[in-house]
Structures are given as structure tokens and as C-alpha cells.
Symmetry: C2
Subunit: 342 residues, 2 copies
């Protein structure tokens, strides 16, 4: 092997701060940013250094988009649907009720035009975005009382933020927004009747099963939620080409790794919860149907109001329909036979 | 940003040959090796150059493992189950009948100990391996006549290689091994009665629908087949640390990207096939049950004979059972409601 010209190889040392929207205690999600940082460091011989800060260390979790946009930090790791107040269309970069599964989201993003559709939308916020993790289909949430039909949802106070909360409100639920640490006491005191969170692994840590026995599935409100890495556009453009490459490929790996990690830790957590007396319940079909109708009615309303939303929604809906038809064949055909019915 | 010391950055120019087991016409699978090569090149400023050769250019597709082991080429891209003649346990590095789905295979490999379990097994062949793509659940194959029960399989001549063929032979099928280009004429002349291949996108290109109208699903014999990158161990150890990092992360990206690409191209291909008159059929439950029993009977027999197989199979079986219980809840619960039944 011949040694290349040395002058071509001089690369700067660059130090970035990456603000996560998540606490370290959500180790699977938070950890994806560390997977990225570690790989970028190793790929560049230690010269491109990204330090990850948990929510609240530099900015609160819900201010990560502003912080990246303004250059307070060079990068962030977040869920775009936190920022639907800025633009409702951002929800599709994460997940919407009855949306894509994790695999379908990846297909859309990497090969179905998803990343390209969102690039100009994020550029308007001075940001370039990369898929950066997925939880897989979440659980439907924890309920103090059994839900046997849509009627049982009326007036229920449920902690469920974002698009899921929007749809639930159309079914009569009164959605609440509470930070992670405030949920358990509210559920215990009965200030709220129910809460969503993530899935068995994360939910177990917050102990909801001690105060709300009914654990519903599936999380139709988040069938494949994607996390995203954000980078300030000026900082991105300043990077040497190889560092841009390192960031992009490390983001893809973090995306893959986080889902695989959730898939690894959720199964034993579910078994522990069941042994602890959790009552696993499937959503009644009338709830699923009413929620699906409410979701698509809402998307159509938003699409009628906003051209950018309409453009993304139209592409997404066509993609989703094709995906669903195919996944209903080989994948579902296999899984229906092979996986035990709950 | 300060410039680091130049002496630390001198990296050699390295040129590798990577032998693929696949022809360029299988562009989704073959393409994964090009995704890896292109990313490695870009990550290293053009200094680590991997040139991909299709099956037959340097060695035939089924000799890729030998070629990497002996150092004829530095790297390969293949499916480990091609080499069960060397060690039956290698099938678990790809897929076995009623095995893991693509997501579960990733969870096992990256976070469930799968990669680590296989490292010493491959080291015995002078190889280090990396997951390098997945097709997702395949289709069950093309049949000239309808299959209504296990009895209809007796004496059927079906092109189905590897572990799927092993299980099929226990159901009375006479498995045939034919290269891709030889299948269509054999099916047309009636020399064979049926064939498996991959899924809608690849199957459509070979035109099977013109001579065998029944298209069965799911491909229980390959519910989530993984491709693998192989690297000769001496060549691996000679690489600078950053180049090892570049190869490893590019392999992970290629793994993710290939599945996303299949998920992107299969849905429209399936619709085209249906419009061309293909008769989509679900495997009868008695076939699925008989195949599942035959598969696990066979695994138990192999495990009784071979300690390495037993070690991997025992770990895999436990992992699979936990996975299936969890995936039967949130994912399957969602998909059963949302995806249209075929």
C-alpha cells in the first residue's frame, strides 16, 4: 500500500455540542446520540468530537430545535413532532397515528423520497436533518380502568402529547401534557386516569404498573416513531467533506442500532411486567376504527389549509397505501402464523 | 477550529477486491456492496478503495467464502447459508425456516450477542463477518398448480436450495438446485413444478408469472434472510483503525439501506404482478404447521450432533421465543388491524 500525499490529509479538530431532547434515564433513545458521537470520533481519528448533553443541560428538551436553528448548539437529537407548533407537517418526520411502521419509515426516508421532501422544510429553519433512531410500534398506554369501547374514553384525562393527543381528543379524551417525572404521582393520585409513554422497557422504569393495571396495545398513535438528528446549516457547511460523511453514516447506524436495542430490551421487560400482574389488553376494534377515521379526517383538514403539509401528506399517503398492501402479504402472513396471539 | 498535527493523519491508499455472490441483475442485493464501497471511499477521502466484482468475475458466487478465506480477494458479500456444507451452523447467520424476521435478526446480531457468537466460528475460516443487508420476509414461491394441503407437495420438483429445501424434502418435495438463469426454462418445460426466488421485485424480472400462475406466501423458509460481508482476517488486521471503523459502519448502513430499498421496490412490483394475472395464495395452515414441525425436528437433530451448532441454536431459540412473544403484541396488534388482509 502506497502512502498518499500528506497535504490532502490534514483535517481540523472540531468540537460540537449536541443537545438531546431526552434524559439519560431514557438510555435507549439518549444512547443513540452517544452511538453517533462515538462512531464519528473513531472514524475521524478523534478529531471530530461531539459531546452529547441531556435535556436541560444546555436547553430544555423542547427547545432543541430553536437551539440548533440559532446556533446555540451545533447539533440536536430530538423528535420532530415536538415542534408541530412551528409547522404541523413536522409530525411526518417522526410518526403520526396510523402511520408507517419503523421499516416503512426507513423505506420512505432513505429510498422513498422522505429525506429529500423534508430537506427544504428544515432548511427554512436553518437545519439539515437525518433519521436517527426508532422505537418500533409503541404500546397504547396505561389505564386505571378497563376500556371496552369508545364510550369509555369520554372525559378520560390521559397524558398523551402531540398527534396522538389530537386524535384522542376527537374521541372524547381530555389530553394532558406532563413531563416524564410528573406522570406517576398524577396517575397515583388520580389527577389523570391514563398515560402513554413508550414501551415495556421504558414504561417499567417509571413504575406505572403499580398504579394503573391495564396496559393497552397497540400504540396506533405511534406505530414507528423516528427520532432525528438536527444540524445547524452553517455549521454543516463548514465541515470537511469527510466529516459530513462521518456524521451522515453514523446517524444511519444510530438509527439502525436504536431500533435493534429496543427490540432486544423490550421482550424481557414485557415478561417481567406480566409477572408483576399487569393486565395486557388489546384495543377494542371500535376504538381503533374511530381513531383511524379521526386521524385521517384531521390530516385532510390540515392538508386543505397548508400547501407544504398537503405536498408531504399526499406523497406519504400514496407511499403508505402501497406499503400496507405489500406488508399485508409476506410479513403479516408470516407473523400471523408464527407469533403467538396475545 | 485548530488544525491537528499532520503526522497523525497520514493514511495509506489501500485497494481491495470484494467478490459478490450475486449478479448485477439482482441490483438490490448486489447494490449493497456498492453502497458499502462508495461510503468507505468517501469516508477516507478516496484512500480506501474497494472494487466490487459480481459473481463469476473473479470466482463463482458459491466460492466467495473460500476466496476470502484463502485471500484470493480481501472481502466478499454473500449469504452464509450457501456454506452449510462446511458447517450447518452458518445458516443462522442468514436465516432458517421459521427463524427471525429482519428486525429480530438485527436485534440478535447487534445487541443480542449474535455477532459475537459468530466471530469465533468465522475466525476458524480466517474470516471476520458483518451483517450486510436483508431482503425482509420472502415470498413462498411460484407453483404451476395450486397447493391445497401437504398431500399436494408429495413428489413435487421444486427449485429451493439450502435450509428451505431441507425442510421441504421432509414434506415430500424433491428439492432441486438451479442457478437463476436456468429456472425459467425448466419451469416452462415442466422439468420442475415450482420455484422459490426472492420477492416481487426480483421475481418479476425473471418472468416466472408467465409460466407458473400461483404465487404463494409467506416465505416461511426465509422470514428475514441476512446477507453478510466477509473480510480476510489478515487483511482486516492490516487496516488502520479508521479504515476498520469505516468498513464496519458502512456495512451497518448497507444492511439498513438494502432492506429499505427492498421495502421501497417490492410494493409496486407486487401490484404489477397482480395486474398481470398472478394468483396470490396463502400457504394452507397444515403446510405451515408441518413445515414448522419438520424444521424444529431437524434443528434438534443437528444440535444433538454438533456442539457449536447446539450452542448457537440454544441461544437463538431462547432469543426467538422472547422476540416472538413481544412482536405478537404491539407490532402484530397494529399490523393485523391496519394492513389489508390478502
Amino acid at each position: 500500500a502506497a502512502f498518499g500525499p500528506v497535504f490532502a490529509q490534514a483535517q481540523p479538530t472540531i468540537r460540537w455540542r449536541l443537545a438531546s431532547s431526552f434524559p439519560k434515564s431514557l438510555d435507549t433513545i439518549y444512547g443513540a446520540a452517544e452511538v453517533l458521537a462515538e462512531r464519528v470520533r473513531a472514524l475521524t481519528g478523534g478529531r471530530f468530537q461531539i459531546r452529547v448533553y441531556q435535556a436541560g443541560e444546555i436547553v430544555p428538551g423542547l427547545q432543541v430545535m430553536d437551539a440548533v436553528q440559532q446556533g446555540t448548539v451545533e447539533a440536536g437529537h430530538t423528535a420532530s413532532y415536538y415542534f408541530v407548533g412551528k409547522a404541523q407537517v413536522l409530525a411526518f418526520d417522526t410518526s403520526v397515528p396510523f402511520g408507517l411502521t419503523a421499516r416503512q419509515q426507513n423505506a420512505w426516508m432513505y429510498h422513498g423520497g422522505g429525506i429529500e421532501l423534508f430537506r427544504p422544510i428544515f432548511a427554512d429553519f436553518n437545519i439539515i436533518q437525518f433519521p436517527g433512531g426508532n422505537t418500533g410500534a409503541q404500546m397504547g398506554g396505561w389505564f386505571r380502568k378497563e376500556i371496552k369501547s369508545v364510550a369509555d374514553l369520554k372525559g378520560l384525562r390521559m397524558r398523551i402529547p402531540g398527534p396522538g393527543g389530537q386524535v384522542m381528543s376527537r374521541l372524547g379524551v381530555v389530553p394532558q401534557v406532563l413531563a416524564g417525572g410528573d406522570i406517576y404521582p398524577a396517575l397515583e393520585r388520580g389527577t389523570i386516569d391514563a398515560t402513554d409513554w413508550v414501551g415495556p422497557y421504558d414504561d417499567e422504569k417509571l413504575g406505572f404498573y403499580k398504579v394503573a393495571k391495564y396496559y393497552y396495545y397497540p400504540g396506533w398513535h405511534e406505530p414507528g416513531p423516528q427520532l432525528s438528528f438536527y444540524v445547524n446549516l452553517q455549521e454543516w457547511r463548514k465541515l470537511p467533506k469527510e466529516y459530513q460523511q462521518a456524521f451522515e453514516v453514523a446517524a444511519a447506524e444510530a438509527n439502525l442500532s436504536m431500533l435493534a436495542k429496543y427490540d432486544q430490551v423490550n421482550p424481557p421487560a414485557l415478561q417481567r411486567l406480566i409477572r408483576a400482574g399487569v393486565r395486557l389488553r388489546k384495543w377494542p376494534t371500535d376504538v381503533m376504527k374511530a381513531a383511524q377515521k379521526a386521524a385521517f379526517d384531521w390530516y385532510e383538514e390540515e392538508a386543505a389549509k397548508d400547501a407544504t403539509y398537503r405536498k408531504v401528506y399526499t406523497a406519504w399517503k400514496k407511499f403508505r397505501e402501497e406499503q400496507y398492501r405489500w406488508f399485508g402479504v409476506a410479513e403479516l402472513g408470516y407473523e400471523q402464523f408464527a407469533f403467538p396471539a396475545s
